[in-house]
Symmetry: C2
Subunit: 418 residues, 2 copies
């Protein structure tokens, strides 16, 4: 059995001028991977006839399945559909089920009159198989040529995902009984990439050729991913499990989770297991820690709430920070962040709390507290810990790093055996 390869072509000027970040490709790759199909190549082109045409020519040399997103809207800049019509021969015809669906959307959901542009959304090349799009007006389209499969989908992420889940993935599974790809991922914190590499070099040197190890550093953590490909699922799993265990043993003391999950999910699992709760008191992160914790489904079981006290007054009023302490030491200080975390624990009646206060920039720096200075504290009923950190990036990254480091600090307290 041969490996099955896919290429992803994303179409749209907005991708090339940088106005939009492409999140579709990552999702598509993840889903195809689960089916044992490897994305070999990904390419982004503008809404330009020749560039799209060339990409179609080039990608079919590399891949068995070519997934195309974008350029299917009802407006003049969307040229993908007429181009596909010409590329695969044939002429445009009205597709009745799609027209019924579009009509229904306008009559019963949008409750607006339908215009000619909307009707045109239901026209497709007569050389394609239509993949109905329950989530929007532009249908997916499947073409076959030279033994290759081409699938065109809208670029709107939730519409693309719906078509993938309801049409493309089942079809791909049936058509290509591809090999199996397995991934095992773990997350470490506190040791840099090169030191980690040094530490696990024995494990790495013993990896068989079917397995590949990748280092993915981010936010002061390093994710390690082991990937394998095989036609024998059972053998693959046992091989990858064995080597993954070796890897885990080598990083035991710096391991955050042995799943492909962010630290907020790992914390959620710990709290659920213990039946405990957490609250947050945020100044400089402005709600981002709360957002990370509540992005996890089911977080209302253990997450109680947050006081985002951007203003001084609110630190006093909602968290009980002492006015004099704040006047004397400033809001970015050990004293204040400790009072914030105690205030959160007491006022929101949780088992744990985490608090941060800092200066994220670009403005607000002081001679003794430059931009990037952060005090963070974590507390349980038995213990309060505080530490100072310093980040030297832009506002966005400083906020993200502060939130991530605060969550790592919270996790340390939760897993503390003392």
């Amino acid at each position: 059995m041969e490996k099955v390869f896919a290429s992803v072509i994303t179409i749209g000027d907005e991708l090339l001028i940088g106005q939009v970040i492409d999140t579709n490709s990552a999702w598509i790759a993840q889903e195809l991977n689960k089916q044992g199909i490897l994305v070999k190549h990904r390419v982004a082109v503008g809404d330009v006839w020749q560039d799209i045409w060339d990409a179609l020519d080039a990608e079919q040399q590399q891949a068995d399945i070519i997934l195309i997103t974008g350029g299917l809207g009802p407006t003049a800049d969307d040229i993908t559909k007429p181009l596909l019509c010409e590329y695969f021969g044939g002429k445009m015809v009205m597709h009745q089920p799609t027209l019924d669906h579009v009509t229904n959307i306008f009559e019963n959901i949008l409750k607006r009159p339908m215009i000619e542009r909307n009707r045109k959304q239901a026209e497709v090349p007569d050389t394609c198989t239509v993949l109905l799009n329950e989530r929007g007006t532009a249908p997916g389209m499947l073409f076959e040529k030279n033994g290759k499969i081409f699938i065109s989908m809208p670029g709107v992420p939730h519409e693309m995902k719906w078509i993938m889940q309801h049409h493309v993935l089942p079809l791909v599974q049936e058509k290509f009984q591809g090999g199996f790809v397995a991934h095992r991922t773990l997350l470490t914190a506190g040791v840099g990439e090169s030191f980690l590499a040094e530490r696990i070099k024995d494990v790495e040197s013993l990896l068989p050729s079917e397995l590949k190890l990748a280092y993915l550093p981010n936010y002061g953590m390093v994710r390690l991913r082991l990937t394998g490909w095989s036609t024998n699922k059972v053998e693959l799993n046992s091989l990858i499990d064995y080597h993954f265990q070796q890897l885990k043993d080598a990083v035991q003391d710096i391991l955050i989770t042995d799943q492909d999950e962010p630290v907020e999910v790992a914390i959620g699992k710990l709290l659920k297991e213990k039946g405990q709760t957490v609250s947050t008191a945020e100044s400089c992160t402005g709600g981002y820690i709360a957002h990370l914790l509540t992005s996890v489904a089911g977080s209302s079981d253990y997450y109680m709430g947050s006081v985002v006290s951007y203003a001084y007054d609110l630190k006093e009023q909602l968290l009980g920070v002492d006015h004099e302490e704040m006047a004397q030491h400033g809001a970015v200080s050990e004293k204040v962040v400790t009072q914030m975390v105690k205030g959160a624990l007491a006022n929101m009646k949780t088992d744990y709390a985490v608090a941060v206060s800092g200066i994220m920039g670009p403005g607000g720096g002081l001679p003794d507290k430059p931009v990037g200075t952060v005090w963070m504290a974590v507390a349980s009923k038995h213990k309060v810990l505080a530490k100072k950190m310093h980040f030297r990036f832009d506002r966005k990254r400083n906020i993200e790093l502060t939130a991530t480091q605060a969550l790592l600090f919270l996790r340390e307290l939760i897993v503390d055996k003392t």
Copy 2:
């Protein structure tokens, strides 16, 4: 003068299995655009020798400048540097200024012993011009071949950005006095893409061939972007300004901002102008509205804080929601969200407040309040408005949509002339 084209090659298995979302390409495209250089093509390949080699071969057919990110780390999966060494001929040599820099990082910042792997970071092909990387240990490298420029940079976003800003962009500006690209962007809300197209079709049909209009729908809003390219900057600006004004006139009543900025930035400008303040009371969005508002530099001038009341108790205690009302109507109700917004306004002493309460899923739905049901309210000293909305996506998108719609609702109140 010819148009100057660029291609971006991103290298890394993590991009192809979907573990990481590529944000570098968008940023690079934005920066090159400002210099009049158009990104024509973007391609992602894995850490695979042949695939990287082929991409280098292919992209130089399309572009004058080839920007390469990723694969420069100190670990075994990083093969970009030896590959470039072979591709451009030459041999690896130690680059003393980089070695000094790496040594300094270890001695004075990390305060850790340096290992051989780290030393190797300072080796480069002798055919390249080194672009010192102040932000990390892997230097940028510039190669020239057949009149094309190839630049390799680390994939870590803040390192790549530093090298771009300090080396690549100045160099590109000097070398290619490219044409000028101009963009004008506006944001509308409340009218779908196809109706918007119908409304502005007269303006669109009168656009000269140098200008191109794109529709970028997202979160229930549509961004319209006008792009032009010319060798004459003055003519280009006056042409694009004229047509942009026509466009603005046609969407006057649904215009959120005539800048390329998100709604939270537009709100910040309004509040600064008026010298007014805002606070938030969030349930289902879990701090995401606060995060959006505080992601804007200088937001502490007008943003006071938020109560993220995930738990029922906190709605009562911190926002003064009535226990009986909540028991009778549930937390997701007009009564409760109205009390929340009033509580925020009073307790955080702001001119405006916004509150949301809803069910984001996947769990928590009720027969009369299915997943996606949201009540939102906005208040000033003179007015309280509430509305119910319904979103039908996944948790992440429901949170994002709720936050965006709440901000649009807040903006409506702020700009209200009554």
